[in-house]
């Protein structure tokens, strides 16, 4: 039962990810992302972490994706304004590296299986979660806030000051 659910959720998550990449419409992509997020919440449930699953649903599925959709609607992003931009330098290295990773992983799992000595970790209750997050892992938690802050400042700086002036007129 769990095995079937795991495969199902994984397929859903990966499919959602591909959908994000392959659709040109921003709204479609946002919906694809939502699918992935929900599937991952399901994974958390399977891992016996109901609180985390709930947070995942509320924060990502609820708030973040809705915000994305709002932004897309507000900015009125149309498909024809989104030009495809390519990674100019060393595309082949990236492609090769990706393929190599795929083969490596396949080889590893075929050779060794996945029976790792993984720690079960704290169970996913609110107490255990809070205990872990705000004590042992409080530093990464704080660091994440710096990360978000930096991203925020950067986003403002890029959109307010560094917009391509010439192209706006065009």
């Amino acid at each position: 039962m769990e095995g079937i659910l795991f495969v199902l959720l994984s397929v859903l998550a990966l499919g959602g990810g591909l959908w994000v990449l392959l659709r040109r419409s921003p709204v479609d992509s946002a919906l694809g992302l939502l699918t992935t997020m929900v599937a991952i919440a399901g994974h958390y449930m399977l891992l016996d972490a109901p609180f985390l699953a709930a947070v995942q649903l509320i924060v990502y599925g609820g708030a973040v994706i809705i915000l994305f959709l709002f932004v897309i609607m507000l900015l009125n992003l149309r498909q024809d304004r989104l030009r495809a931009r390519r990674l100019a330098a060393g595309r082949w290295v990236y492609a090769l590296a990706g393929v190599a990773v795929l083969f490596c992983l396949a080889g590893i799992f075929l050779a060794g299986g996945t029976s790792g000595a993984v720690d079960a970790g704290p169970s996913g209750t609110v107490e255990a979660f809070g205990e872990a997050l705000f004590r042992r892992w409080v530093y990464p938690f704080e660091l994440t806030s710096v990360l978000l802050l930096a991203a925020l400042v950067g986003a403002v700086a890029l959109t307010r000051h560094a917009a391509p002036k010439a192209e706006d007129k065009a």
């Binding site: 990464p140 700086a157 890029l158 307010r160």
Partner: protein
Amino acid sequence: MDFSGLNVAALLPELLVSGGGLLVMALHAAFRGRQDRQLVWVSLASVVAALAFCLNPLTVEPGYFGSALSDPMAFAGRITVLAALVLLLPGGVAYARSRNLPQAEYLSLSLFAATGMMALASAGDLIVLFLAVEVLSISLYCLAGLMGERESSRQAALTYFLAGSFASGFLLFGMALLSGSAGTLDIAALGTGLARVSGTGTQWVALGGVVLMIAGLLFKVGAVPFHSWVAEVYSGSPTVVTAFMSTAAKAAAFAGFGRVLLALGSVSEAWVPLVGICAGATMILGNFTALVQGNFKRMLAFSSVAHAGYLLLGLMAVGAAGESLEAVIFYLLPYVLANAALFLVAAKVSQAGSGNYKLDDYKGLARRNPWLAGLLALLLLGLAGMPPLAGFMGKFMVFSAAVRAGHTGLAVLGILTSVVAVFTYLRPVVYAWFHEPEESGALNLDGGLAFVVWVAGAGLLLLGLWPRLWLDLCAGIGV
């Protein structure tokens, strides 16, 4: 709740610098941008406070349950990053002002990036390592795109972002495999964790993780074969940001890289050949590509690829032979000093000349400002590794560590490619001293730039003559 393992003091440098970043934004908002000229002093104050705190032995205890370390590597990494900030921020703000870039955002993003860099240098577990990499990367992506009205800057930001995300993916995936199989997130404990699973099927998972992590880190340090982003990003970004990337970010990345490889010493036979090939290829490709550049900024970009090769060689000796990180720690400081000053000089000379970093701008520089031309020669030759400047001592330590670890062939390769490097670095010197100027008139430095150039030059000479000054300082803090 029990917070005895916290030891907040261990994180004070990071807290001070990120707090400085926050304060800059707050003041920018409070004064509605009218006092932006003063913000650089706020930033510098937080950096200097962090610097002063780093030198304080209070921080010797690791903090946050072992997530924030205070060993010599962490100390050296923090000091190097902060030193780069002290050198770069004043010049950077002047640069930003003259090109109409947002000063407050430049400052706060730089400080956030520095927070990430310091956290990376002192990371005790994989989670912090990854988050630190992300903090510094996100900040740098935005900094790279600050000159957004230029296509090259936008392209640089995008390339950096895509390449960086790719690398982060590798890094994260590798970490998941590695920590899962070793059963720990603690970097220092990875070795024993891996020893426990050796011989079982899990060791293959672990090895896959090691390879993926190393690939991700090679990306971040810009080593061959993952160097393709370097030229575009370094030449497209605003020069002061490039300077920051090639100095502080590189130093921090190498500190983190070194820490990981040190922990993986027990499985060194798995990664030494890999890193060795990359190091050799990086030295060759970096030096020869730098040789043929006609653009000073691109030349420095490729030369920094070449330096990544030498540093990798130093790291290999570390993991494989249980050498100390001394060689790498030492190599980084003069490299950072020289590069920071050179990028700022490049911005100045280019602005006074062609505006696009042509090597020709350096023709006859000695006539226009002999002191600047002399210091330019000193800095370039220091990077090239001419004794008695510190670059020589750095190379000497790296090569001798490599020879001691049994990588004689690579050491010889390194020494031979250094000759190519000397030729590269001599070209601007030849232009500056042996050619007639195309433009007449003195080229005067403002006080800030002169300060940076003199400090860097003096540092190169001092560290070259007394390398123990820096190493003893690092060693005296921890261990």
